[in-house]
């Protein structure tokens, strides 16, 4: 999560970071899946911040957004439909 916050801070500064309302909802280490919550008005900002992450603890990584939804229930449905 610190990598995500760092990316948001790097790109948008503290003012931008204060607008995104970022929160970690779920993290599945085995599947390498994370569910993040953000304000719907700042989805683009978070998407850009996630795309700008190239390293976590000096290890090269790439973060991709698999789905965006308004509720966790709809998100699970979407994920099941897409990746089941």
């Amino acid at each position: 999560m610190s990598a995500v916050w760092d990316a948001v801070l790097r790109l948008y500064g503290e003012y931008g970071a204060s607008r995104v309302g970022l929160a970690l909802i779920d993290y599945d280490a085995a599947k390498k899946l994370v569910i993040l919550r953000t304000s719907h008005a700042t989805v683009g900002m978070v998407r850009a911040a996630l795309a700008s992450i190239t390293k976590v603890h000096d290890r090269p990584v790439a973060v991709h957004v698999l789905a965006v939804s308004g509720t966790i229930r709809a998100l699970s449905k979407k994920m099941t439909r897409k990746y089941a």
Binding site: R10, L11, A48, A51, S52, P60, V61, A62
Partner: protein, 244 residues
């Protein structure tokens, strides 16, 4: 209708088959329908066919591209004369103002690329944009430097990109956003690439066009021109024979 996305700049190590397959697979998985690979000018037809086969295997369309780095205008004109009919996309790396001007006014050039460290020199100004607008040239922006640079370097890059994009929009020069990736971790999904372009003030619709409609239009136009049936823009051979 569903958008078709294209990445016109995926750099492959053509000697390494595993790397080639891995990059092509990843580009396809990320949702691109077309990818262009910069090729050496003297690459054999057989190697190109192999690349096409690998792309077909991963269900992605392949477009051949050549990157020109001429030192003089004459060298550029010579290369264009030699290569225009061999490659679907011709990009010119504008490393001097002189080359940038020549490339912008030549209708055979598809993409104007400016190296990341040279962007501050501001080769893509109003005069350049006007020439490019008349000659159907497009401004290419690679995302790789945006991802790999940080701190002040990235701030300067974003500032230059913002200025260039605003000039391109003013003069109706199409913008193309490509990954410029040389490894799979630098590839981004089309929506993510579009989100990154918001950093240099490209609006969402233009950003999506920069990775779908604009690159597709270049490839379509050039494929039509390279087709043996092409006569002139808008005119093509439908049938040949005595009864025509």
């Amino acid at each position: 209708m569903k958008r078709k996305y294209a990445d016109l700049h995926v750099c492959l190590d053509l000697e390494n088959d595993e790397h080639v397959a891995c990059m092509i697979r990843k580009t396809s998985e990320l949702g691109y329908q077309l990818m262009a690979i910069p090729l050496p000018q003297n690459l054999s037809e057989e190697k190109i066919r192999t690349l096409q086969d690998v792309c077909r295997e991963y269900k992605i369309d392949f477009a051949s591209r050549v990157d020109l780095r001429p030192r003089t205008s004459n060298e550029l004109i010579k290369s264009l004369r030699k290569l225009r009919r061999k490659f679907e996309i011709i990009a010119v790396m504008c490393e001097s103002r002189h080359i940038a001007r020549q490339a912008a006014k030549d209708r055979r050039v598809d993409l104007l690329s400016f190296p990341g460290h040279d962007r501050r020199r501001g080769f893509f100004d109003k005069a350049e944009a006007e020439l490019a607008s008349n000659a159907l040239g497009c401004l290419e922006i690679d995302l790789k430097p945006l991802l790999t640079q940080g701190g002040r370097e990235r701030i300067r890059l974003l500032s230059s990109l913002r200025r260039e994009v605003a000039t391109a929009v003013d003069f109706h020069v199409p913008v193309i956003v490509s990954s410029g990736a040389s490894n799979e971790l630098l590839l981004r999904k089309p929506r993510e690439a579009a989100a990154l372009t918001s950093l240099f003030d490209l609006d969402e619709v233009s950003a999506l066009e920069a990775i779908s409609k604009n690159p597709m239009a270049i490839v379509k136009r050039n494929r039509e021109k390279l087709s043996p049936k092409f006569v002139a823009p808008g005119i093509r051979l439908i049938r040949r024979g005595k009864d025509c």
